[in-house]
Symmetry: C2
């Protein structure tokens, strides 16, 4: 990926950047240029300081910034590595700082209603047998957790992300929003297993409709 | 906003967190609990260290983490303030680290084709006269830049974000993806000005179709 693109997507304002921020940009570029990925080890502080012609202190501060941005992770006694889901942060849109949680829930649900039926239809077209087997496992897991009265939020999110992963669109993996849900997953997975996009779309619409009722009730 | 929600959206794994990360979480919670927003000043290092019962060094490291996550910003000689677009980071999904730029462009375009016609239709329903006047200004600005052969990417993005801001959905402001485009904006703004959702949807679809052709050409 070229540096023009990196500049575009990260809106580089180099004039106002501190030295550690500029060193962090150089390390970002090095990761991209060398096609480093999740689990690869970064050169150590001494080597980086030499290569980038800056002090070790600046490298250390830059690494802290990149850890905060989930580009790098420190493994105690082992060194610095490229993080899983490189550069993808928790709560990337700062939802925690938005006022009015019920309104936010509705805003997210509005977007889900646009995207998730389409994702389900794409999944029905593109899912292979392995995908479907894994969806079934997650569907049963969610059902089991609900029946035994346990928290099923994490498993539920996993299922929605796994449905998105049946498509060939990597962005959807990040985009499938974080929202509490209830049931009606069975119909969605059934339709994907039958490779029936129209039924998958409808089942997901139905699922989100139930969801909305539950959210509206819970958020008051 | 309650701390249960913050935990949910930020996937707190407190066991594996460093001290500065835990102090950063406490400062996040303080910002939320006090309803602090963009431009409000954070208590100084000394006060925070006392309130949170930690060292000033830990507060300083925590503040660095929150600056890296665009929660806080430092103003030289003035202090630490809540950042504009609190907690919203550049390139939140780490696109810079994904391989295969042409594929990424197509993945983003696929999602835009789902969302933007719907956004245009919502804007047509909800835009007021002020919204429409501002859209016209941006539309003319993009046209002018194109005609004079200047870079219109930033103005183009502004227009798409402003269209999203005609809706009452705050999440769309963050979600409208970053992608290079060409023209055909006039028809979109015309339809929004006429409060005609169907025409707005179609104009945006047409706009994205042109776009795709240009992207496919440019990305080979």
């Amino acid at each position: 990926m070229n540096s023009k693109f990196l500049d575009d997507v990260t809106h580089v304002k180099s004039s106002s950047k501190t030295l550690p921020e500029r060193v962090a940009d150089q390390i970002r570029q090095l990761i991209i240029d060398r096609h480093m990925e999740n689990g690869d080890q970064l050169p150590n502080e001494f080597e980086l300081a030499q290569q980038l012609n800056v002090s070790r202190g600046s490298v250390r501060e830059a690494v802290k910034l990149l850890v905060a941005r989930n580009v790098l992770e420190l493994r105690r006694g082992k060194g610095t590595f490229i993080a899983d889901n490189t550069g993808v942060v928790d709560d990337p849109f700062g939802f925690a700082y938005l006022e009015d949680e019920p309104r936010l829930a509705n805003e997210l649900m509005d977007i889900r209603r646009q995207l998730e039926p389409w994702i389900a239809a794409k999944a029905a077209e593109q899912a292979n047998d392995q995908d479907i087997a894994e969806l079934r496992v997650l569907q049963y897991k969610v059902e089991e957790l609900i029946q035994s009265g346990q928290d099923h939020l994490a498993a539920d999110q996993q299922l929605h992300i796994r449905i998105a992963d049946c498509t060939d669109n990597r962005v959807l993996h990040e985009l499938v929003p974080v929202q509490e849900t209830i049931d009606t997953h069975a119909a969605v997975v059934d339709a994907i297993a039958a490779h029936d996009p129209e039924a998958a779309r409808e089942a997901m619409q139905e699922h989100l409709k139930h969801n909305r009722l539950s959210l509206t009730g819970a958020s008051e």
